[in-house]
Symmetry: C2
Subunit: 335 residues, 2 copies
């Protein structure tokens, strides 16, 4: 059996209450006894039993991150993992454990309900990919501490945070204008691609603000494959006038765009500048290296970690907001 608080108390010639107090840094303990107790703890190699603590304090000090993870997730969704890393770091720092649970949409309700009722964990961070209206009802009716990552696409009572892609779009457009590009085109995903749409929204808001005209062929939508980026860029090039810069809604599109430009012997960044979003290793490998507006998802994860513990402490705290730390990383694809 491992050493317990009793052993420490006996050895230090005090009561367990005193030992407990020194562990919690109570002021009402004389320096001598505190020192003595600390020393004994050291000698005995005492470690408080976390389970006992969890039990009496009615908290596990752990939060569950629930999301859908299937095969290939590691490769297809590096963002999510990056975010998880930030979250883990913050939770660790705050003394919380980070439990990850992969679930399909249909199983989430049951899991959350049970995990909450059995007090298996203290709170939940839930990826927007697995939320449902029923889950919203559940968490709000039971007051389950939670935080959703990603904007829900339906009416809800969730607390959520998301990256502000509109803002990121604004930052991209602003940067282009600032460094001297006068006309800009945009290639993005389909209507369903909310991220792309939000980025476009931001871009347009800035362009309008600066009275930059946008010929219709400057706006291209399609799938997000490399070849789609290639084709859309060609479409843009076909028009009467060429834009001075192109904003690509994501890295794949940007790769296709760069290829098309190079095939047409158009110099980047002199003749046309290219900017995209998210700092995948990818962007640094391409030639030219891509200028990107990066959203620090690690930071967002940290924020999420910090928020969920706040929520646990103040259950009536209600957060529904976009947060973001967009930052432009200037590389070779823009002047």
């Amino acid at each position: 059996m491992s050493v317990t608080i009793k052993d420490v108390a006996r050895q230090a010639n005090t009561s367990i209450a005193t030992v407990s107090k020194v562990m919690h840094g109570s002021y009402s303990i004389s320096k001598e006894t505190a020192d003595r107790v600390n020393q004994v703890m050291e000698e005995l190699g005492y470690h408080p039993n976390q389970r006992a603590r969890n039990f009496v304090s009615k908290s596990n000090k752990t939060i569950a991150f629930v999301t859908d993870i299937d095969k290939e997730a590691g490769f297809k969704n590096p963002h999510m993992f990056e975010m998880m890393c930030g979250m883990e770091a913050m939770l660790s720092q705050k003394g919380y454990g980070f439990l990850v649970k992969g679930l399909t949409k249909s199983d989430v309700c049951d899991y959350v309900k049970n995990a909450f009722e059995t007090k298996y964990v203290d709170g939940f961070v839930i990826h927007a990919s697995v939320i449902t209206p029923q889950l919203s009802d559940l968490v709000s009716s039971k007051g389950i501490p939670h935080l959703v990552i990603g904007v829900p696409s339906f009416d809800n009572n969730f607390c959520w945070i998301d990256a502000d892609n509109k803002h990121a779009g604004q930052v991209a457009a602003k940067h282009l204008l600032t460094v001297g590009y006068r006309t800009v085109a945009f290639i993005g995903g389909t209507d369903e691609d909310k991220i792309s749409m939000h980025r476009l929204e931001g871009v347009l808001s800035i362009l309008n603000e600066h009275d930059v005209l946008i010929p219709s062929n400057y706006l291209q939508y399609g799938n997000s494959g490399v070849e789609d980026g290639y084709a859309m860029t060609l479409q843009i090039l076909k028009g009467a006038s060429r834009p001075e810069a192109i904003i690509c809604a994501n890295n794949y599109l940007a790769y296709g765009c760069v290829k098309a430009l190079q095939d047409k012997k158009i110099k980047i960044p002199e003749e046309i500048g290219v900017i995209t979003f998210d700092d995948y290793p990818f962007s640094q490998i391409l030639n030219p290296k891509l200028t990107v507006v990066n959203i620090d998802v690690y930071d967002m994860g940290q924020e999420a970690g910090s928020m969920i513990v706040q929520k646990i402490k103040k259950p009536n705290l209600h957060i529904q907001s976009y947060i973001t730390y967009p930052q432009v990383i200037v590389r070779e694809s823009t002047k």
Copy 2:
């Protein structure tokens, strides 16, 4: 306060012991009382407090995955996350929770010791990037249930599993020979890059077996950047005779290699075939799409999950082995 076992007992007119027994399906309970108790539990919406259970049963039913995760890990190390996904899935299936803990090498010992002693978790899966000889001593002296992912590079008592990169190298070489390439070159990482070295080892074993001669310039080592792959390929091309195929130790190298070949107007796969390892999305984006030898790390994760729970049940089980599921995915860069 939520309803406890006492409430159930009172309401059902029995003792808490009886309630506990019906929950655990004890045979020595009459059907009537069992039914009654179950009904009361239902009525009251009773859920056993998991924390109390953990406390008395001295087990959390959770295993911790400890690794070093810093910023960018999500982008730089998709493999690890893919592996984690497989592990999570398996552990979930076996009724275990999956806790992830990011730690630096210097902190791992303390953490593991403490987490074990405080019974915070039941077992550990540890990434080889954070293991030390001290940790080996610790886990073996205390009999801590663990499994390390990756071969340790020092004498140790760990249980470990790893991907068999040598085997993967053999598979790559064999495939090349099979489809008709007669001479093959290899570009890989530095001496310290064990993965690259093991892959090379496998390649050479097959080449020797088939009496394929390897001029010294066919073997190139360097860093693993795209530009390194480019430069090494050029080195190879400088030689008196050209190889018919090139094996690239990783994706970045492969990208540089392809670029160099294309700049030299060498046709892939007709004049020179290219093969690499690991099925990053990357490989499918390049033009031509890359033929790869893939190692299914998700499967490996599942294996790891399954092994650690075995270890918990049978502590004297000792595993030190390479496991792997290499599979060649033929795409455009080889005939």
